[in-house]
Amino acid sequence: MSEQQNNSGNSSGGCVDGGFWRWQEYHRVLSDKLWSSSDVITAGIDVGSVGSKAVILVNGEVYSWGVIRTGSNSPESAIKALDWAFRGTGLKQSDLKYVVGTGYGRVNVSFANKALTEIACHAKGANYIWGPQVHTVLDVGGQDIKAIRCDDTGRVTSFLMNDKCAAGTGRGMEVFADLLKISIEDIGEMSLNVSEEPPPVSCTCVAFAKTEAVGLLRKGWSKEKVLAAYTKAMAVRMSNLIKRVGLEPALVITGGQSKNVGIVSRVETVLGVKCLPMPNWRKDGIDPTIAGALGAGLYAKTLYDKTKNT
């Protein structure tokens, strides 16, 4: 297994320009797998509002991936994410038999054979990562929260999506990271670093919650306590969405916020259930952030096989 992080620019902690919201771009190759020209290589590209993810699959098995920040240009982000996934694999675009685009910018993946929504793809990806026992998926993306119900094969049976407000989403967390001057990757841990859980902030609207947080800081609350109050409010909002769609165990969380232990543990507390354990993505497990792109890659394999059979 090889891993590389993007050290260009100010991605590490982002303290140079105050960009505390910046999370790290990276790519990975699962090196115990190899590919040959006779293999079916497919890719899934998930162009989200905040992050773009590309996953390469060899015969329907995850081989490599790349995670980058979505720039202002979606088509370019798609290509860039794919390039990151290709790093260290020797693969190139012409080796791909079938590509499925997904996410907010799915129509902008110019080289994709088909576009599918991230809802279908996250369920499929979660099914691959955790197995058939997954029946409820909470995908917390950059600007959307989706609660998805699926069957043993990862097919969507029902879903709900938040409205156009950014409350409870990754973007909302970025705003808080910047406000409190804490790296986005640390805020989950920090939010748990309180002796007693404070009441959730009353307003989940990012703009108003920010005002409320400033007020709490002035009142003498610690950063940890403010984070705990905001994270709790977000977790309640997510849990309500899950309750509305109907929670059927096992529950998993995908998307960028799956790495926020503050969110995950609070969702578990509110709902009274445990999520399936997070794969050890820093080592040899699959990163739940890429679930959408992974699902797209799996659908790409299925769709490719279909074209072969007809």
Binding site: A115, E118, I119, D144, M161, D163, K164
Partner: protein, 446 residues
């Protein structure tokens, strides 16, 4: 009927006529463009679109042919009666020699103007209709001599008061418990009052002799309408948007002409059924929409997202008071006496209606659920979209019961809430497409 002096432009008293005219011209020009673009889009989306749709395309221009005809009729001394709800007894309006036109607004831009008068939480249709009146945009509202305002929900009730600043408004109150002993009696009295008002307005007495041919006419319209809906039961020969457009034009078109053109369209569609000339591949997911009414021209967002989605679906049925509910039930007459005709009109508007403003003695709007389940079965519906615009509380709240019934019947349903805005199109697209993908997965397309 009182001869009250109506003071005009009360709700925008601070605005000069010049400003009103400017706003009107801008929004009107934009709206004409939207109408033309929407029709062009339909033509492009369906290269084999039925030829007979051409007529409805023309009538779809709210500022075009029909508006001029109304102006002419008015100049000749005819009265025009605007109405906000399909409970308004069209037969009586016609029998009095007046012309009925529905006035609910589908303009997004005018809903922003309505925000100056009522809070944004108020239903988009109400806000938009107020806004349309503020800038004198709608030829139908402007040319109406009076408005019949049916008090179906809170928004509509107060809409009548606001519009009353400009025009004479007749409130028409419907009972809430449809099957109570008093309901029909109460409603009949309301209908009789409208009849008396209409006679006074037009100077024409409504008699058995004048009413009978009108009832025969609307029965004929109902037959043409039902013929169109039944053509949507098999493989699709017409898009949902075109069917909705035909249904909706009934609300302002000349009825005799509408019947003739709808029958001509049905003839064409029947030929297409025989030639197996489908409007989309037969495995396209078949969708029914229910909920808040969708008004031409701007609020055609959802049908477009469904039918031009990736993957696309096809609307094969709806349960909207802006479309399939308009004419579904004809007036049923036993004897052609005046009493019987009036009773039949009352029953047709009250008992047949599935609007969530009703409940029943045992506490549910069962008629709506039965209607949905029957339609879903007859039209081979694979999924239902429950469509809501913000502030449409009756429909919002009835969702739970409808969902329970559809769940039981194993029909997937998706709740889609939006507003009179273009800004959420990307989000809605994902939601609609994910729902269609879900239906596709059930039939193994993905």
């Amino acid at each position: 009927m009182k001869d009250k002096k109506v003071e005009p432009k009360k709700i925008m008293s601070e605005t000069t006529q010049k400003e009103i005219d400017e706003l009107k011209n801008i929004i009107k020009a934009a709206s004409e463009q939207v109408i033309a673009q929407t029709i062009e889009r339909l033509k492009k989306a369906y290269p084999n679109r039925p030829k007979e749709m051409e007529y409805f395309d023309e009538i779809a221009n709210l500022f075009g042919k029909r508006a001029k005809e109304l102006g002419q009729a008015k100049a000749e001394g005819k009265k025009i009666v605007g109405y906000n709800c399909i409970f308004a007894p069209i037969e009586l309006i016609l029998a009095a020699g007046a012309i009925p036109v529905r006035i609910n607004s589908g303009w997004y831009d005018t809903s922003k103007l309505g925000d100056r008068v009522v809070p944004v939480e108020v239903c988009s249709i109400v806000r938009s209709t107020i806004g349309a009146k503020m800038i004198e945009l709608s030829p139908f509202i402007e040319q109406s001599d009076v408005l019949i305002n049916v008090l179906t929900c809170d928004g509509m009730t107060k809409l009548g008061e606001i519009l009353g600043d400009y025009k004479e408004v007749w409130g028409l109150s419907n009972p809430r418990i449809k099957d109570s002993a008093q309901a029909l009696k109460f409603w009949s009295e309301e209908i009789k009052q409208i009849k008396a008002n209409l006679e006074k307005l037009t100077g024409n007495k409504i008699t058995a002799k004048t009413l009978k041919p009108i009832i025969l006419k609307t029965q004929k319209a109902s037959r043409a309408f039902r013929r169109l809906q039944s053509l949507r039961k098999g493989n699709a020969v017409i898009s949902g948007r075109d069917a909705m457009l035909v249904n909706q034009t009934y609300m302002w078109d000349d009825i005799d002409r509408w019947i003739e053109k709808t029958d001509a369209l049905c003839d064409e569609l029947e030929r297409r059924v025989q030639n197996k000339e489908w409007i989309c591949p037969p495995d396209t997911p078949r969708i029914m929409v229910t909920g808040t009414p969708m008004f031409w021209p701007d609020n055609w967002k959802l049908p477009r997202l469904v039918e031009e989605g990736n993957p696309p679906g096809i609307l094969v049925a709806d349960e909207l008071c802006s479309s399939e509910r308009i004419l579904y039930d004809p007036v049923g007459i036993d004897e052609w006496t005046m009493d019987d005709m009036l009773n039949a009109i009352g029953e047709r508007y009250l008992l047949a209606c599935t609007c969530p403003c009703f409940t029943s003695k045992d506490g549910g709007n069962k008629d709506r659920i039965n209607w949905l389940l029957t339609k879903a079965k007859d039209n081979h519906v694979q999924g239902v979209i429950y469509y809501i615009t913000k502030g449409c509380m009756l429909y919002e709240m009835e969702y739970t019961r409808v969902k329970r019934a559809l769940d039981k019947a194993n029909i997937p349903v998706y709740y889609l809430d939006t507003d009179y805005t273009r800004e959420d199109a990307g989000q809605l697209k994902t939601r609609v497409e994910a729902f269609i993908e879900m239906l596709n997965a059930q039939i193994d397309i993905i």
